[in-house]
Amino acid sequence: MDRLRVGVIGTGTIALSAHLPAIAFLREEIELVAVADIREETARAAAERFGATAWYTDYHELLARDDIDFVDVCTPEFLHGEQVTAAARAGKHVLCEKPMAATLADADAMIHAAREAGVKLMVGHSRRFTDRYRHARRAIEEGAIGRVRLVRENERRPISMYSVLNLPTGYWSPEGDRPWVSHPAYSQGAALTNAVHEMDLARWFVGDEAESVYAEARVVSPDSEVPDFLSYTISFRNGAIGAAEVVNQLPPNYPYFHMLEIFGDDGMIQATDPAQSPYELWEDQGIRLPENFNLLLRVDNAYVREVGGFAQAIREDTPPPLDPWDARQALALSLAAVRSSQEGRRVFLSELEKGEVRT
């Protein structure tokens, strides 16, 4: 079997911690040909570490190569619209990191460009490929809890998550020392960075579209200028509710975890990470569950399934395992939460559709 050839655009945090390791794991099926990053040192280091034969600081040069079957876009969301559209027009299939884009207009343009070019597009909502959520979804499909009424999630991340877990970090700082993720010119905060996961899962488990979102948000980190604390309630058309509290800046050593509870007419599903960690470390400062994030990233192989599933769809010319429309709708929920928290009112999804065309 000929290996599919991939180019990775953006070699920051998510590429280094998840996508590139997954591609390396799949080396018998996928060959990493080239990487691109606006930061020369970062691009060169990633290429050397993961065995790419070429690296670029201009992603257009990567797209100009005719020996690349698909690109994996791992840049910040505000760049996705431009880069994914360019990749599609260059005839490359595109796997894109979540969130899909920074605006619905960009998301719609990405879908449109992929269709026009006849290439496949998938957005990497990694939790759809994670065992615990797949089990939950399967239980719902099998009718184990009846009709889903309430999806309740909390996401907790310590400020030290990457350093404590010895994971690489590489947030790009387009202006001085301020990483893009906390800069208001480039990021809309936790609603897109993290909560898009919870919103996508809620929509997946409920099995219906949302009607409205109400959110409260705030900035808790002295280093951030965008909200890094978010609590929201989603009202779905079928009467179900999705709700979550997401915070990124908890004290060092607080365990990274995602609590999931789903209540239905005939039962409930509970998956709370701290109680299910395969490893606990008690120390002076309290308890640490250092395996949890690794569980999501590596042991569980969610990103291997994600990248491998997309590659399989290319090889067999079948639809990708996740339709871009799902990612687009998760983005719509995130943007509704942003607007709700800014304007102090409930935001209907229909408001976001004005002036935009469903493709």
Partner: protein, 284 residues
């Protein structure tokens, strides 16, 4: 106790209702040597303990006592004028039944001691059996009372979402923003299936810059797994009546007790918000 010349008990906690029915009311009555009228309890779903003093204490007016006597049959959302007046003048005292749990009181004490540093948010989830009725009065009020004691700043606005599940339970979700930007996420849902814990469960989590305080009192239980599935057969936590009484008296004896009118204000605003879906300002 000696400072209180008249005690009116109206309503009871729904914590493990089957096990502790009237336990708090009985404990209060016994503590201050008053006769309890169980018939009043039979007609109420309220989760309010009203402690009101007689006319000889300047801070409590006779109107509050009279209103408190009738509290057992009054839905919170439809307060009569005199009770509203009592609440707004600070004469009505309400306490979250969850402070009957030592671990929740410990969380409150640590919060007051500033252990979390800058508070970020408060998350409280109270889950009740699907068959539970009247969870706004019986559950939401207790969460609001808890939040207003734990977060030491005035609430600014509240948004509430209510969903009823066609006879399969209901949920109330409140997002409560405080002055200083602390955000409380309060959820009370009657969603536990028959195989779930019979007495419900409670999770309280206060996040902040220096620490996270997490209390889960309902984990203090004996879990029995039988043919019908898992359930909590016996909650072996200490009877909450005594600790709650101590808490209530401690609050009453504070020089500047919690402005209780806020509880009524928040509950009233939450009802209004649930009707419109929009947040309601609590700034006067």
């Amino acid at each position: 106790v000696t400072a209180i010349t008249r005690l009116t008990i109206a309503g009871d906690t729904d914590l493990a209702r089957d096990v502790y029915r009237y336990a708090i009311g009985n404990a209060l009555a016994e503590r201050v040597s008053v006769r309890l009228s169980p018939q009043e309890f039979e007609t109420t779903d309220e989760v309010v303990i009203s402690v009101a003093a007689g006319e000889d204490l300047p801070e409590f007016a006779a109107a509050a006592v009279a209103a408190g006597c009738r509290l057992a049959t009054l839905p919170i959302a439809d307060l009569p004028g005199e009770l509203e007046a009592a609440a707004e003048s600070g004469q009505l005292r309400q306490f979250s039944p969850h402070f009957g749990r030592p671990v929740v009181r410990r969380l409150l004490a640590d919060a007051r001691d500033g252990r979390v540093g800058r508070p970020y948010g408060l998350y409280v989830a109270h889950r009740l059996p699907r068959s539970s009725a009247g969870i706004f009065a019986g559950g939401v009020s207790g969460l609001v009372a808890l939040a207003l004691e734990v977060i030491d700043s005035p609430p600014v606005r509240v948004q509430a979402t209510h969903a009823s599940y066609d006879g399969s339970g209901e949920s109330w979700l409140l997002l409560l923003r405080f002055d200083g930007d602390t955000i409380a996420t309060l959820e009370c849902s009657a969603v536990l299936p028959p195989g779930g814990p019979e007495s419900g469960n409670l999770l309280v989590e206060l996040t902040g810059s220096d620490a996270v305080l997490r209390a889960e009192p309902s984990r203090q239980a004996v879990r029995v797994t039988g043919a019908e599935g898992r359930q909590i057969a016996r909650d072996w936590a200490p009877n909450p009546a005594g600790p709650l009484l101590q808490h209530a008296l401690a609050v009453l004896e504070r020089p500047a007790p919690l402005p209780q009118a806020r509880i009524v204000d928040v509950l009233r605003a939450a009802r209004e918000s649930a009707g419109s879906g929009e947040p309601v300002s609590l700034m006067s």
